[in-house]
């Protein structure tokens, strides 16, 4: 792509939007809202058209836009999209306008809108960047707006929660910074020029094995905090509980994906060998997170905290799929990033709508809402089933691919992960029963059902939840080539081979079996030849003996 680049434009539009918002007087809230929404919608439309323009047959980065920036260090403005990032970009494009329309900050609309737009730019930049330095900038850029959104528009303990969020993430980022610098400079050893281009870095693979392992761990530290992976997750429930609804939606929907996306994009492609070697550690943390998150979610008294812990469990599935290192696991993981964004985003929106009416998140305070809010109950049920992983809705497709893909290489981890599926049903259905079933009394009995606007906000999410459950193939068709390329890359550089069945299905199993039979046949033949030779030798000896004896 030369000249105008759609990707650069997508990153710049929200920044420009934020700048425009900053110039509008504080009192003109309606104009601010309109500008903010217009920018977000524009990006949303662009992201969707990107998905349609995307060439599903190609595994390469597409719509690449490149401009040299700091030449001395090999830093360049480098954006591109492939099957792994494409739908995360679309997800970001869809969730931001929904979060902006669907929630009300109640105060200081100006600051709120500006921060939200900057946050969107940060998220998009992170997903699109192919230059490590640019990625790091955007990755850090997401931090500040979210910090201010939680701290400025959150609930009672917002200061504690926002600071915790900030420090945790910063802590992780520090590791990544060191890792990044080390990677870039060590890769440039000898004659090769400095570069931050991840395509180039992945190709070079210049780090010694144990160095690569340390650098991989440094990167992983940053992403593990972001995901969050057990035991780095404790910032998440606080951040979610205290964040305003839009903050929770974006945090769960998009921001956490920066962690899992980072593991896939940087962890696997830059350090394939280290990823293969250290996979058991990450897999273990992932399945511990699946069970642990679900167990903690079961007992929560605060509805938002419950959803937050469920995210810990769900993100555990994604990490499980990623480090299963099979096509199915990774494709499922990438798809599940999108699915989780849709269903958990929707859950937070619904919980937010309840909060707007009842001003409480306490499960014990809510009761019998299905009678006073039947439409809300229907929507909650659908989203809940999506989150539980009911076939026919989006969550199942990703979860199933992850589990079947990890079973092929990591049987027992997958079995534990599958057990987590039971728990998901338990905590969500129990919460639903306590909140929606029964006969409402007092305030619960007089709540107004969802407004037309709220229904319109939820409609696209519900549509996608059903569509991706029934017909996920258009999405998978675009994800698969890039995932297959990545797995091949890991195989080549990581000294690893995924099982034949993951590549070729029944055909693969047959080939494997035939190969084994041939090998066994050969071994048998060699064995019999050897025996024959031995026998002959013995015979010869005997003959010789006889001859010598005879003489």
């Amino acid at each position: 792509m030369e000249g105008f680049s759609i990707l650069t434009a997508m990153v710049l539009v929200p920044v420009i939007g934020a700048a425009v918002v900053a110039l509008i007087p504080r009192s003109r809230e309606d104009v601010i809202k309109a500008v903010g929404l217009a920018a977000a919608v524009l990006v949303g439309v662009a992201s969707i058209s990107l998905a349609f323009a995307f060439d599903a047959n190609s595994a390469e980065y597409q719509f690449v836009s490149e401009a040299s920036w700091i030449e001395e260090f090999g830093v360049s403005w480098l954006l591109g999209v492939d099957g792994i990032s494409l739908f995360l970009v679309v997800l970001t494009g869809i969730l931001f306008p929904i979060a902006l329309v669907g929630t009300d900050p109640h105060r200081d609309v100006k600051g709120y809108t500006a921060w939200m737009l900057l946050l969107e730019a940060g998220c998009l930049g992170s997903f699109l960047a192919l230059d490590l330095f640019v990625f790091f900038l955007f990755f850090e850029l997401t931090l500040l707006p979210m910090y201010f959104i939680i701290g400025g528009w959150g609930y009672e303990k917002r200061v504690y929660a926002s600071l915790k969020f900030f420090l945790f993430t910063l802590f992780g980022s520090a590791f990544m910074l060191v890792g990044m610098v080390a990677l870039v400079f060590l890769s440039a050893k000898g004659t090769a020029p400095l570069t931050f281009d991840i395509r180039e870095l992945a190709e070079r693979g210049a780090l010694a094995e144990d160095t690569a392992r340390w650098v991989f761990l440094a990167f992983t530290m940053a992403f593990a905090v972001k995901v969050p992976l057990f035991p780095f997750h404790t910032w998440l429930p606080d951040a979610h509980t205290q964040a305003p609804t839009a903050g929770s939606v974006i945090l769960a929907g998009v921001l956490l994906k920066l962690g899992t996306y980072g593991l896939v994009r940087f962890g696997l492609s830059l350090f394939p060998k280290a990823a293969v070697d250290l996979a058991p550690v990450l897999l273990t943390l992932a399945v511990v997170g699946i069970i642990y998150g679900a167990v903690c979610a079961t007992m929560q008294k605060d509805l938002k905290r419950l959803v937050a812990y469920s995210s810990v469990a769900h993100l555990g599935f994604i990490v499980l799929g990623t480090f299963a290192l099979t096509t199915q696991g990774l494709s499922g993981g990438v798809l599940q990033m999108v699915n989780h964004g849709l269903s958990t985003g929707a859950l937070f929106l619904l919980v937010g709508m309840i909060y707007e009416r009842r001003h409480t998140r306490e499960i014990a305070e809510l009761h019998g809402l299905q009678r006073s809010m039947p439409v809300m109950a229907v929507m909650f049920t659908v989203v809940m089933f999506s989150s539980i992983g009911l076939p026919g809705l989006n969550g199942f497709v990703g979860e199933f691919l992850i589990l079947i893909g990890s079973f092929v290489t990591r049987r027992w981890w997958a079995v534990v992960g599958t057990a987590g599926v039971i728990l998901a049903a338990l905590y969500l259905l129990w919460a639903y029963q306590r909140v929606f079933h029964g006969t409402p009394e007092g305030e619960n009995a007089t709540l107004t059902d969802m407004t037309l606007r709220e229904r319109a906000v939820m409609a696209p999410l519900l549509f996608l939840i059903v569509f991706l459950g029934v017909y996920p193939q258009p999405v998978l068709d675009r994800i698969n080539p890039s995932v297959e390329r990545l797995v091949r890359h890991v195989e080549e550089k990581g000294g690893y081979e995924q099982p034949a069945v993951a590549v070729n299905g029944a055909e693969g199993v047959r080939e494997e079996r035939q190969k084994k039979e041939v090998e066994e046949g050969q071994a048998k033949q060699q064995e019999s030849e050897r025996k024959l030779a031995e026998f002959k030798e013995a015979e010869d000896k005997a003959r010789e003996k006889a001859r010598s004896g005879g003489q």
Partner: protein, 654 residues
Amino acid sequence: MADLAYLIPALPLAGFLGLVVLGRRAGDPRAGWLATSAIGLSFLATVATFFELLGQDAHHREVTKPLFTWIAAGGFEVKAALLVDQLSITMALFVTGVGTLIHLYSVGYMKGDEHFARFFVYLNLFAFSMLVLVLSDSFLFTFLGWEGVGACSYLLISFWFERDTAATAGKKAFVVNRIGDFGFMIAMFLLFTTVGSLTYKEVFEGLEGVSHAAIVAIALLLFLGACGKSAQLPLFVWLPDAMEGPSPVSALIHAATMVTAGVYLMARVSPLLVEAGGALTVIAIVGAVTALVAAVIACAQDDIKRVLAYSTISQLGYMFLAVGSGAYIAAVFHMITHAFFKALLFLGAGSVMHGMNDELNMKRMGALRRWMPVTGATFIVGWLSIAGVPPFSGFWSKDDVLLAAYDKSPVLWAVGLLTALLTAYYMGRQVFLVFFGEERWRREEQDGVQGNEPSRGRPEDRSEAEPPAEGSHSEPHESPRLMTTPMVVLAALAALGGLLNLPFGKLKFLEHWLEPVFEEAEHKLSPGAEDLRLVLALLAIAAGAGGIAIAYAIFMRARRTAAFQPALLKRGSGGFDDLYSFLVERPGRVIANFTAFVFDARVVDGFVNGAASVVRMGGSQLRKVQTGYVRNYALGVTFGAALLLGYALLRMGI
């Protein structure tokens, strides 16, 4: 060929979508008629497909109808496709047939319910899911239907969501089923790993190279799934509670169709089971023990619907006993006759409740046949059928099951025979208490044994909306024609269903029809067993007659209302609920509470906060750095980065 097969699931789906779009506008009774015609037309499509298959040569009655690629990644690919063969069409026939009758009944039963339209939305969605389950050509697509019917079951059990018991029962059903689904899912993973495909055909073709241990594991894991869905030990505890749903739901989902899905799955994978050796024995034993245990618990129930629930569990046990004995045709035969008579009994129970102001305790009933002649007569037909009285349908199918069990092991047969006696007894008890004897409902609070079961069924506010004429002294009344007609049709089917597969040469219609499907898996009876058929049949008749005689002696002659009801059996699920609560729920709660509020809050998070305070106390100099202003931290990061960068540059010598 069989192009109409697409319509079989498509029509209920269309009905569901139509009702969703119309919402409340569809209203009462229009929503009901719409849903009923959707499933009715689906039945016609099934009949048409059936005759089309019948016109084919016996070995060309199998055809796959592809729809679209559902999920594909790398070497994994699953299509949404329908498999039309003798087995799936047989299932589809009784699912849509019985389904239509129950839809029709529901139009009358649910009349006046506030959520009338919603009920039929769920009902059509259920029918669609069930037909996907039955007609699918792969494990995964079957699983879609499998989970779909589970979700509908959840929604319909907790249909009267204001009732706490209904809400809890719905949740319990879903969660317990999930334990079974765990098995189903792992079985699919294993199949993919060892065979590389999830379509039935490819799996059965690819079994040759799979190790015996893997096949046994797959069979047992699938059976775990079946145990959940079909309410077998140890996962049966959800079904009795599921009676919280409206009676037509109990009839359709929790008796005739959904709960037989586990048996269907076992029949579908018969080529796999035949290779699994020991797994079959496990299935047979679990089936036989479940049949017996559930029958014993049924004897102690006072709730008219709970008796039927345990009876369903027990009868499903028979079907698994048949599967475990390699008698798939007998299992399917019993599934069909059971669908007829059990649906009939549940509809009868619903009709009794309808006429008795939602009374459920059989001790407060009696002599109802005089007030509800049609309900009484049809219920008695259902009773004779389940009790195994010839020539009613249950006799023939149960006889096939027992014969096969005898060939497997006389011990299993003996358990089955004892169960048959108990079945005749508890069903006799039910019929005598409800339809014969004294009009106990005239006297309130009789014999001090107030049912420890509260009146289940409909929410109070509904009864308030339609207050009974004069409190509990209002006279019972027969249900409207809309409800009795389906019962009469089902009664005819329950009486004559045996004709499907009479054990005489050419009259074995079902056997000839299904034979090609089970060709290799079906166990051939040993000649010895075949010779004993008549003797065993006579013994079965004797057991049935004995059970009825005992019930008659106690409840008709002696006019008692209670016998053989130890407290243990009367408690939730015959004590199993208590056991599970003790073993799983309470420890689970403690562990989860500890994890969430002690370990996570104090240990994991405490470590973080602790580290922070150590740092804070560590030095007064450092305290100044902890300003809490993010801009300062950001500055720190920048400086740190610059330092590192500088260090790296120096090291590189640049």
